[in-house]
Amino acid sequence: MVQSEIAKRSLMSAVTPERISDEKIERLVTSHDLAPMPKVAALALKMMPDVVIHPKEAEEVSEVVRIANGWNMPVTPRGGASWGFGGAVPNKGGALLDMTSMDRIIGLDVERGIVRVQPGVVWLRLDEWLNRRGYFVPYYPSSAPGATIGGWISTGGVGVGGYKYGAARDNVRNLQIVLPSGQIINTAHNLDSKHPSQFDLTSLFVGSEGSLGIVTSIDLQVYPKPDVFFPTTYSFPNMDHVYAAMSKISESRLRPYHVAFVDGNYFRFLRAMGREAPEVGGILNIIFEGPKEKVEEELKFFDQLMTSIGGKRESDEIAQHEWKERSYELRSKKLGTGAVIGEALVSVDKAGIVANETIKLVRKMKMNVSVMGYLIDRNTVAFLPFYLTDERRWIKAISSLSFVKKFLDVANKHGGRGVGLGLFMANNIYKMRDRNTVELLRYIKESIDPEGRINGGKTVMFQTRYGIRVGPRLFRFGMNALAFIKRLYPRDKYDRPVPGGFPGGEH
């Protein structure tokens, strides 16, 4: 009997039977994230886990990790898997911890405004739960209906509301972590990371993509529910106007709650699906919240500002609709069979340049890409271009993946960087940090997890199922080859035509 089989049996005898499974269907479901990979990827990556575990408590996670250690079995934690970089997908098989089963909201400390949750709680559910108690969580991913708190925090957590309230890293007060050794620790002294003391590890684990340990409980700063919540939508004739408007907002003295944009291609995708969508160059959604007088004042100020740049204020009904749609931006993926999103942070003053170079890249690669994004602070835009994919045509699907790498190259060239690393973008670490720091980060991973069992071969390096490290040169060569193959195909088309077509396109 091979070692992995013995390890699996050890786990199955230790874990409550209804919370562990080696059924093929369950393993298949957990073998991909938002970006489905063609079967051929299995040559390099063992994305199918050997066993799937649904833990309920930290002690259970600790026990699984200790058993896996004994049999040298890789362990991959997984949340809602609403990301596309492979961070929540095994690369060497092993045990997959489905953290969505740890979904208890443990409690709200009303006086301190701190909520404690298990990592599998979904953001939308937490917000609804808090709303009933007079509180709200103002920062969350756009995938809030499906994304788990643990998952988003592990990616660093930039998203909706960050412009005013900061990212997850600014609002996590403590994490309970099961280390690769199986030990359980708190990352913050006195459970408070706002004023870090005593070797606070919170920001080290937030954004570590599950590679340093497994998050089993999270303390989050939450806020009293605002008196007023008011979304507005401004349409612009082209995206240059949108980027100029964002620049003006970031320079202004008042700070709205959230500022997000969507380009005209997004609406083209929607029209192709038969949905009603405006014919505009792009839109900017500005959301306000707070005391009534403050919101009124901010609204007056930004209304004047947007009008002066050529923005047209859409009706409140449209603004409400756009706000409700913030979590469903990938509705159009039904035109294909899935969607792949790139994600980069770019300084506000470079947004237009990066956008224009991305358009050139899109044309070169014969693709149709929609760009959306939002301001995450006064000087940074999160840029999220996405394209529709169809993995039934696997050569084309896999060659299209090179777009994400090429897009990140464009962002890097202008001082930007990717939001995360995961598995597929792990080699980007060299473009994000200096060599000394990369070596230190690898040392940290190795000192915490010497055998690389917990989500190993990701984030600080890219390893295949055989433990072979794919370096940046080989990765770059592979991606360039894929981009070349993609360019040999005719321009992307969909089962349903896009009314009016894309700028410069064939439809």
Partner: protein, 309 residues
């Protein structure tokens, strides 16, 4: 030295400048600047590294070492450049002062004010705190909440109305307001006869108990006790307690025991910290010790903060 103010401030503490300003730097760190720092460039004995990202310091995925570094008592290396986001100067920046008879009333009101979303920051200063500073004048003979507000005139008007009501409910009285906005406590401005006995991160709900207890210890030692709470928020606050004149070893011992019992970590570089650290979080400390050994194999930089003497 500010080398780039748009859109990110990179404050470059090159060795020359830093050597002249260690207290000012430590003061900034201790006063809560770490909460907004995005990147720190560090020289450690064996290598240089960055805690965050160099290009432009925003959040995102990947290991971020900023809080770990800032809470290490500078034992992981010497910082030579900080990056932090700046914001445009608001139309109006206003300091508003409310006086309270008891610290617990002031704390309760301060937390409620914080929750309205109006104040930029809320601070609390004891009645005689200003007298501990070389240039200070007492604001009043009562505990004072100092609230920093910003925005345009309409927002300030609405904020004042809301905060005045909260203060009144807790027995507070609105006193002065001025555009002379309070800065962080700068040790170089502390009067030579005043003794800063530690800067502690405290649970805000226990703040009034801690203030009363420390005040009692000071009274027993016949010392005048004053304090400032910087960044009073519903969750945690930073307490800056001070004594008039040098404390005796016995008084320091009592304060030390009290802090250990209360599990209050002192911020910055304090020899009390290893006692707290070793006894309360051995795994976390051991983990950082491994990183320390990588950065400083000879353990020459502030080894006592790691429990190494």
């Amino acid at each position: 030295m500010i080398i780039d103010i748009e859109p990110i401030a990179c404050i470059d503490f090159t060795m020359g400048d830093w050597a002249h300003e260690p207290l000012r730097l430590l003061s900034a760190i201790n006063s809560g600047i770490d909460g907004i720092l995005r990147n720190v460039k560090v020289i450690s004995p064996d290598r240089m590294f960055q805690t965050g990202y160099d290009n432009f310091p925003a959040n995102g995925g990947g290991y971020d070492l900023t809080k770990m570094y800032m809470s290490s008592g500078l034992s992981l290396g010497i910082p030579y450049e900080f990056a932090m986001p700046l914001r445009p100067i608001p139309d109006i920046l206003l300091k508003k002062v409310y006086s309270f008879k008891k610290p617990e009333d002031a704390i309760r009101a301060g937390i409620s004010m914080h929750k309205t979303g109006y104040p930029r920051i809320v601070k609390l200063r004891s009645a005689g705190f200003e007298s501990m500073l070389s240039s200070g004048n007492a604001l009043s003979n009562e505990d004072n909440l100092v609230v920093k507000l910003e925005g345009n005139q309409s927002i300030i008007d609405a904020a004042e109305k809301s905060l005045d009501e909260i203060a009144k409910k807790s027995g507070g009285v609105a006193k002065d307001k001025s555009s002379d906005v309070p800065k962080f406590i700068d040790p170089t401005s502390i009067s030579p006869s005043s003794w800063l006995i530690g800067i502690c991160a405290c649970d805000s709900l226990e703040l009034s108990t801690i203030i009363n207890d420390l005040s009692k210890i000071a009274r027993q030692a016949n010392k005048q006790f004053q304090y400032c709470v910087s960044d009073l928020d519903p969750n945690a606050s930073i307490l800056v307690p001070m004594l008039q004149g040098p404390p005796s070893e016995e008084t320091l011992g009592k304060i030390g025991s009290y802090l250990v019992d209360r599990r209050l970590p002192l911020r910055g570089n304090s020899s009390w910290n290893p006692v707290l650290g070793d006894s309360r979080a051995p795994v976390r400390i051991e983990l950082v010790r491994g990183i320390k050994r990588y950065l400083d194999s000879q353990m020459i930089l502030n080894p006592h903060t790691m429990g190494v003497y």
